[in-house]
Amino acid sequence: MRPVSEVKGTMVPLPQADVDTDQIIPKQFLTRTERTGYGAFLFYDWATTSDGAPSSDFFTNDPNRAGAKVLIAGRNFGCGSSREHAVWAIQDWGFDAVIAPSFGDIFRNNSVNVGLLAVELPEPDVARLQDIAKDPNASIRIDLETQVVEAEDFVFEFDIDPGVRERLLAGLDPIGLTLQEDAAISEYESRRPAWMS
């Protein structure tokens, strides 16, 4: 996983609450066995008409929004299904970060595991960013080192779990790290009740 320390670029506002992962990546794309190539299907049912043509009013089809780096989302973003395909699609489309008042728990964990920065800010701050993001040229900067978000004249500080921050900054492979705990895992296994093994 590549390290993340700073995300800079333009934004896309998606203010609605409770956007579930079925919307982010609909089920018809989950039979693929690859980890890549989901960007073209991001928010597919919202991005296309029923005959598969692009919906002109959706951001994925708006040339002014191409290259945006930060999605400004609503509360409880990424709720529902555990499909990691949702974070793969967001990242594959080009986003490096999502800012929202809150996230679905599994979505948040999945984000950390692929190096997609999920930043939680209070609802009024996110509302402010939604407003600024209406301008497709407005830029934003997220600094994970100093834990600040800057857009226009606003500076918002954000909290993030120190362990998560460290992992993102270093781009660590969590499995490799855990395998270093092999002795502790083996010791734990030796203590498990007999009926469980």
Partner: protein
Amino acid sequence: MTARTLFEKIWDDHVVTGDDPALLYVDLHLVHEVTSPQAFAGLEQAGRKVRRPDLTLATVDHAIPTTSRSLGIRDPQSKKQVDALRQNTDKHGITFFGLDDPRQGIVHVVGPENGYTQPGMVIVCGDSHTSTHGAFGALAFGIGTSEVEHVLATQTLWQKRPKTMAVEFDGSLPQGVTAKDLILGMIAQLGVGGGVGHVIEYRGEAIRGLSMEERMTICNMSIEGGARAGMIAPDETTFEYLQGRPRAPKGGAWEAAVEHWSQLPTDPDAAFDTTHRIDAASLVPHVSWGINPGQTAPITSTVPDPDQFTDPIVKDSVVRALKYMDLRPGTPFVDITVDHVFLGSCTNGRIEDLRTAAQVVAGKRVAKGVNAVVVPGSMQVKAQAEKEGLADIFQSAGFSWREAGCSSCLAMNDDVIPAGERCASTSNRNFEGRQGRGARTHLLSPAMAAAAAVAGHLVDVRDWS
């Protein structure tokens, strides 16, 4: 020793190292075809092995057809996915309940019915409805594919300690009101984000009176309330269900296990971060009207008016929901006609669900123009239902009787509800496009779904005769 909750006892029992996050040991890892291929590929790429194939169980459920098994899988991508799981499980020595296995079924039905799911365990699966297994007094939660790979390689997971929430259901459930109504009623009150960051323990008289299958229905939908997991303390009902199942401990090991499991319930003085109380005795059957499971109301009421909501974000979501669902404010729910009825899923695809539904349809006919389908949660549920004559009841009434799988709950196979059509569904999600692009879902209990199939519209099953 300080008083601890059920959750805290299981958590403490599973810490390998670390504090917050802690490295937790996983006792049971359930695997299915859709969220695992990339995990196995990652393992392969790094030259890693599966640490504990003996604590891993795989089956196929999400994208498989529910038509006769002899027809095979038509969709080439789904076939590739199922083949990949067979190869991966073969290679790593993991038990696999494949399409040709009489134990195949939805992963959250198969684990409990074969005795894999046990109290006090940490159970994970690349599926958000893993919360189902919490019904046994286990800590069970859904994970993403990267975490699936992590568990395959290490049998552990790094976890932040979630907060605890108690939901106390006072009184007992009235006649005609089911576990499904209880959990839909709770989510309607707390909202789809109400449980975020929390593990819920369901408690109270109404919960103690539930069977294991009803408890699974409750815990299954914990994730629809945003919770990390849901759990219910193990008791005699739990032990009675488990004893004698293939994977349950036997002989002296059974005695030792029961003794340990009996220590798990929350201590009387233990504290929760949050507590909610719900009067179960005053609950009525519920039905969803919107595009998330929180948009649910008593069947006796009417489609809400967006103007009754003050929060602009909530109001906006109601407007969007009514547009997608093609519903007008003020319409009585019982006047809503349905085109499809789906009986099944990890929420309500077990034998008791089918018994309840069969009782409602016995001697009756599915309404003209309604396409009604029963998809048993597992091949064992299917065989049992056939033995009890339930399959005959459904088929005589005009239901289609299928092979086990997730089917129309998420419509990854051919069981897709067409755009613009309305489905009364015993599943767990009414998200936009969940059952098919443009399809409109109403979540309800098996009894309510069965009654809707016969009547051709939503009904209050308490009025049913």
